[in-house]
Amino acid sequence: MTIVVTDLTVRYGEKVVLNDISLDIASEKWTCLVGPNGAGKTTFLKVLLGMAPYSGSIKDHGIEVFNNHKRNVAFVPQHPQIPQGMTVAEYVMLGRSKREGWGNESLTSRSYVHRVLQETHLFGMQGNLVSHLSGGEMQRALIARALAQEPELILLDEPTSALDLHHQISVLNNIELLKEEGVTIISTMHDITLAAMFAERIVIMKEGKVLLSGASHDVIHSPELRSAFDNRIDVHTLDTGRPVIVASKAEPR
C-alpha cells in the first residue's frame, strides 16, 4: 500500500466535508473516486496533495502528507488558472521545476519535454499560447506538464469533464501512459462507466463518506452500488463483458 488514510475528517467551519474516512490506496494502480457533486471528492484530492489541513492521518510511504514538500505529486485541477501569454512549451516546462529546480533548462529537461509533447500529440504546438488551446488540447497540456514532472503520484480532478467522447478517451489514454511508468494515479470522475473502463479500483463517495471501495469489477457488480445512487442506476453488461452504467428513470411514487 502506498497511501494509508485513517480516520480522515475535514471541516470547513461548521460543515463536515470529509467524515471519518479510512482507506488504503494501492500503489502503481489507478484509483478513481466516484460520487455525486458535493461528495467531497475534490477536497479529498486536496488533502492527498498535502496542501489542506485535516484531522486524522494520511500516510504516504509511512510519512504524513500535510506540508510534506519532499513528495513529488502532480496535480491536474478541473479548472486550471490559465496563464496569459504563456506558450505550451513554457507551460509544460514548468513541470520540470520540481525535479530540476525553477528556471533550470538542462538539455535533459528539454529533451524530456520534447518527448512528452510528442506522447501527448502536442508537438508542433509548443509555440502556441495556452490561452488559445481548445478544451481537449488544454487538458492534454495539463497532462503533459504532469508527465514532465515525473511524479510518484498524480491527482486528477475530473480530467474528462467538459470534453466530448473522442477527447475523453484520448485524455484517458494519455493518463494510462503514466501508469506504464509506475505512477500511482488517483482521479475523480463522475462517469462511472469510464471509471470502470480505465481504473483498477473504484471508491464510491457520498456526503463526505466512503460507501464502497474495491476492485472496479467488484464495485460495479456489488448490490450496494445501486443503493449508493439511491437505486437510480442500472448496470448492464455488453457482449464484450464490459459494464455500462446508466441512470434509470425515476420510478413514479
Binding site: 486536496k46 496533495l49 498535502g50 496542501m51 514538500h69 505529486v73 502532480a74 496535480f75 485541477p77 479548472h79 486550471p80 488558472q81 496563464p83 496569459q84 501569454g85 504563456m86 506558450t87 512549451a89 513554457e90 516546462m93 514548468l94 513541470g95 521545476s97 520540481k98 529546480g101 525553477w102 528556471g103 533548462e105 538539455l107 528539454r110 529533451s111 519535454v113 520534447h114 518527448r115 509533447l117 509548443q126 499560447l129 490561452s131 488559445h132 514532472q149 491527482l155
Partner: protein, 340 residues
C-alpha cells in the same frame, strides 16, 4: 536560440538581458551629455569612468553633481516601478495591474499632502518620509482589511482600491483646505526628478536595491504563481508565502520610488509589457531585463522632460503618460482580441 535535435528550444535567452544592459549604459551616458550645456559623449564616458581626457572644471561639476545623480535616480525609480509592475501583474493574474494598485500611490499622495499642507514648514524636508510611510501604511491596511492575509488575491485587490479611494478623499479635502499647497501637491503628483541629489540617491538606492535583490532571487519561482495555488504547491512552491514576499518587496520598491520622485505613472505597465511582448515570453526570468528596460525608459523620459521645453521643465509624468496611455490602449485592444 539553441535547437538541439530531440529537445525543445530554451525558454529564456540571456543575450536579451545583455542587450538591455548595453542600451541602459548608452542612454545613461547620452542623458548625462545632453542638457542646456551639451557635453561631448566621449568626454562624459571618460569622466564617468575616471579615464584620462575627461571633463574638468564647470563641466565636471555639471556632470558629477547635477546630471549624474538625477540620471541615476531616474534609473533607480524606473527599475523599481517596472519590476514591481511585472511582479504585481504575475501575482494578481492581471496584465493591467500596476505598482500603485494596492493603495501605495494614494497613500503616498496623502502622506506628501500632509507634509506640504502642514503649517510647520520643517515638515517640507520630511516629505519623502511622509510619502513612504503613507504608501506602506495604505498597502498594509489593504492587507489587513482583505482578511485571511492573502487567501485570495482578488479580495486584496478590492480592499486596495477601497483604501486608495479613502486616502484620495482625505487628500483632496486637505488640498481644498490649504489652497496655497495646491501647486506643490499637483507638481508632486505628476512626478519629478528635480530634487535628485547624491543624498536622495543614497537612501533610495538602499531600499530599492534590497527590494530588487529579493525579487530577483524569487523571480524564477514567481512563474508558479501564474498557476492555481494547488498547481503551484505541487510544483514545490508555498504560494501564500511567496505572494507575501513578492508583494512586500514590490511595495517597498514602489514606496521608495514614489517618495523620491512623486507619482510617475505608466512605467510599471508599459515596460513589462514591452519586454514580454518583444521577447514573446512571460517568464519572470525576464525580471532583471525588465528592471534595466524600466531604468532606460525613465532615463530617456527624464531627458525629454529636461530638454523638450528647455530651459523650462516638463513634469516627467506627462512624458510617461503621453507614451504610456496610447500604449495601454493597444494592450487593452489586443487583450480583447485574444479573449474573443
Amino acid at each position: 536560440m539553441s535547437t538541439e535535435p530531440g529537445a525543445i528550444a530554451k525558454i529564456w535567452n540571456w543575450r536579451i538581458t545583455a542587450f538591455c544592459a548595453l542600451i541602459l549604459l548608452a542612454v545613461t551616458i547620452a542623458a548625462v551629455s545632453f542638457g542646456p550645456i551639451s557635453i561631448n559623449f566621449f568626454k562624459v564616458f571618460k569622466t564617468l569612468f575616471d579615464l584620462p581626457g575627461g571633463s574638468t572644471g564647470q563641466d565636471r561639476t555639471v556632470i558629477l553633481q547635477l546630471r549624474l545623480p538625477r540620471v541615476i535616480l531616474g534609473a533607480l525609480v524606473g527599475s523599481a516601478l517596472a519590476t514591481s509592475g511585472a511582479v504585481y501583474q504575475t501575482v494578481f493574474h492581471n496584465p493591467l495591474a500596476d505598482p500603485y494598485l494596492l493603495g501605495a500611490a494614494s497613500g503616498a499622495g496623502l502622506g506628501a499632502t500632509i507634509a506640504l499642507t502642514s503649517t510647520n514648514h520643517n515638515l517640507y524636508g520630511a516629505l519623502p518620509i511622509f510619502a513612504f510611510l503613507g504608501g506602506v501604511l495604505a498597502v498594509f491596511t489593504s492587507f489587513i482589511i482583505s482578511g485571511k492575509f492573502f487567501a485570495d488575491p482578488n479580495s486584496l485587490l478590492l480592499s486596495g482600491i477601497a483604501v486608495g479611494s479613502f486616502a484620495t478623499a482625505i487628500q483632496t479635502y486637505l488640498q481644498q483646505r490649504h489652497s496655497a499647497a495646491l501647486r506643490p501637491v499637483y507638481s508632486w503628483i505628476l512626478g519629478d526628478l528635480t530634487s535628485a541629489s547624491w543624498s536622495v540617491v543614497a537612501w533610495s538606492s538602499i531600499y530599492i536595491a534590497i527590494a530588487l535583490i529579493i525579487l530577483f532571487s524569487v523571480a524564477k519561482q514567481l512563474d508558479g504563481l501564474m498557476l492555481s495555488d494547488e498547481e503551484a504547491y505541487s510544483l514545490g512552491i508555498n504560494p501564500k508565502r511567496l505572494r507575501i514576499i513578492a508583494v512586500a518587496a514590490a511595495t517597498l520598491a514602489t514606496a521608495t520610488a514614489v517618495s523620491a520622485s512623486g507619482l510617475i505613472g505608466f512605467v510599471g505597465i508599459v515596460v513589462p509589457h514591452l519586454v514580454r511582448g518583444l521577447t514573446h515570453r512571460v517568464t519572470n526570468r525576464s525580471l532583471i531585463t525588465i528592471a534595466m528596460a524600466g531604468a532606460a525608459f525613465l532615463v530617456v523620459a527624464d531627458l525629454g522632460a529636461r530638454t523638450l521645453l528647455s530651459p523650462a521643465e516638463l513634469p516627467i509624468g506627462v512624458i510617461t503618460a503621453f507614451v504610456g496611455a496610447p500604449f495601454f490602449l493597444v494592450v487593452l485592444r489586443n487583450r480583447r482580441r485574444v479573449s474573443q
